[in-house]
């Protein structure tokens, strides 16, 4: 009984051992293709569709994946290994399968303005030697840059041209000219970049010019207005000033069908403001009123005069007499009499 059990145990242990061994050895009909550098294994064996159907799909796939991974890991451990801080690492060889790049290759840099022009004219670059002979220093020096050969900025004396202003500082003039050339070059560089990226060149309107056109002046004004600490937020505009063009600001309108009551309220508010801005005393109106009153008085006077005149005519005497009578009339209460006369006519 005991012996039997011992044998059984031994057999069991052997079996287990075999299982373990089997677990790291996988048999395949065709060898797998390995690309250890990419940690890649390709299984070219046919998949038995019957197995796939009979077994549970998940189990089948899992066991297949496990076997292939085992093979890949076996392959990895065939590579030379070394110990790095308690961990055994394998050194992978170079990958044999080239992988395609993720992004498309970069486009060639678009040609600069000069390159375009040079191509058009057929101008080709000529390579100059880097070193040139410096006569004064008696040595070979670089053509450009620091410690260059034949450096004219190191001159201790400068000739004043006959046509130039004798008080002009020729050294300062040269430095200024150089700075302007550098600035221009930088500006051209930025323009090239801007053109390549198809964006507007900022601040084109402010290049120094001998004579600015109307548009350029306008642009200069708009740039100057926004060149305050608050980016021109508090700059007042002139009464009839036009809006600056190309500022990048888009027009924005209210929605077509929005808040009608709000719109009405705004318009009423605007009307109120417009109304309050009207002068209380309209001068032309006041003058007109005055003129009308004058007219009326004159007309009234003429009316009275006319009546008197008729009387005068009847009597056959000149108007002087009527005038005398006129003085007496108001006292006599004539207006009332006139009215009476008028009324019957109307009826």
């Amino acid at each position: 009984m005991a012996a039997c059990s011992v044998e059984e145990l031994l057999a069991k242990a052997e079996q287990e051992e075999a299982e373990k061994l089997k677990s790291i050895t996988v048999l395949k009909e065709l060898e797998l293709d390995f690309d250890i550098g990419n940690l890649l294994a390709c299984d070219k064996n046919r998949i038995e569709s019957r197995d796939f159907r009979e077994q549970k799909k998940e189990d089948f796939l899992r066991s297949l994946a496990r076997d292939n991974t085992q093979l890949l890991i076996n392959e990895i451990w065939k590579q030379p290994t070394e110990r790095v801080e308690e961990a055994i690492v394998a050194k992978l060889p170079e990958p044999t399968i080239p992988l395609p790049r993720e992004k498309p290759p970069p486009k060639p840099r678009p040609p600069t303005r000069w390159e375009q022009f040079a191509k058009l004219k057929g101008i080709q670059k000529k390579k100059k030697t880097n070193l040139v002979w410096d006569e004064t220093a008696k040595e070979w020096r670089r053509r450009w840059g620091y410690k260059r050969a034949n450096d004219n900025t190191k001159d201790w004396m400068a000739e004043v041209p006959e046509t130039a202003d004798p008080n002009e500082d020729q050294f300062a003039k040269r430095i200024k000219a150089k700075k302007e050339r550098v600035a221009k070059n930088e500006f051209n560089r930025l323009k090239n970049i801007a053109r390549a990226q198809k964006v507007k060149v900022p601040g084109v309107g402010l290049t120094p010019k001998t004579k600015q056109s109307k548009d350029e002046l306008g642009r200069a004004v708009s740039v100057a207005k926004t060149s305050t600490a608050s980016m021109g937020r508090f700059q007042d505009s002139l009464p009839k000033e036009k809006r600056a063009k190309n500022t990048g600001k888009k027009r924005k309108f209210e929605p077509l069908i929005g808040d009608f009551s709000n719109e009405r309220q705004k318009q009423l508010e605007l009307l109120k403001v417009m109304d309050s801005k009207k002068p209380k005393l309209d001068i032309t109106k006041a003058v007109n009123k005055q003129m009308r009153e004058d007219d009326r008085e004159e007309a009234a006077a003429r009316h009275k005069k006319g009546k008197k005149g008729r009387q005068g005519n009847m009597s056959g005497k000149p108007r002087g007499k009527g005038g005398k009578g006129k003085g007496g009339r108001p006292a006599g209460g004539r207006p009332g009499g006139g009215k009476k006369k008028g009324k019957p006519g109307k009826h």
């Binding site: 309108f253 209210e254 929605p255 077509l256 069908i257 929005g258 009608f260 009551s261 719109e263 009405r264 705004k266 318009q267 009423l268 605007l270 009307l271 417009m274 109304d275 309209d282 032309t284 109106k285 007109n288 009123k289 003129m291 009308r292 007219d295």
Partner: protein
Amino acid sequence: MRPLTEEETKTLFEKLSKYIGENIKLLVDRPDGTYCFRLHKDRVYYMSEKILKLATHFSRDKLVSVGTCFGKFTKTSKFRLHITALDFLAPYAKYKVWVKPGAEQSFLYGNHVLKSGLGRITENTAQYQGVVVYSMADVPLGFGVAAKTTQECRRVDPMSIVVFHQADVGEFIRNEDTLT
């Protein structure tokens, strides 16, 4: 189509106020519904909210007109009234001019109103005041600008202009193709 900006609204109201004064309020705030001004192809249209909502179903280039055209903004962003606005100017007009029956036709052909054709004029009319022109039967014929004050009108000779012509109902026939 879009609502007017504040500046455009101001320009429009300034022009309208020359004819109807503070009566614009009655156009903006109406008891019989919501009415609004909308800009379409530089023209200002006055319409009810209902019509506006119906008009939104039409694309911009297919929409010829909606509501009542009041006038248009010129390229120098001034506002010019069209004769189509007369329906809304006439009932609220503050200053009126009546023309004699004989001068009606002349005015309707686009001529200025002469002193000889002047039937009546509102008292107190200032010079260059916007006026609505009526026939003696109180039919609105158009509008214009007073060339002379009421006072001056009395004195001037019969052949001098008293009202500058701006628009008249004859335009409905003369400018039939451009009026919307």
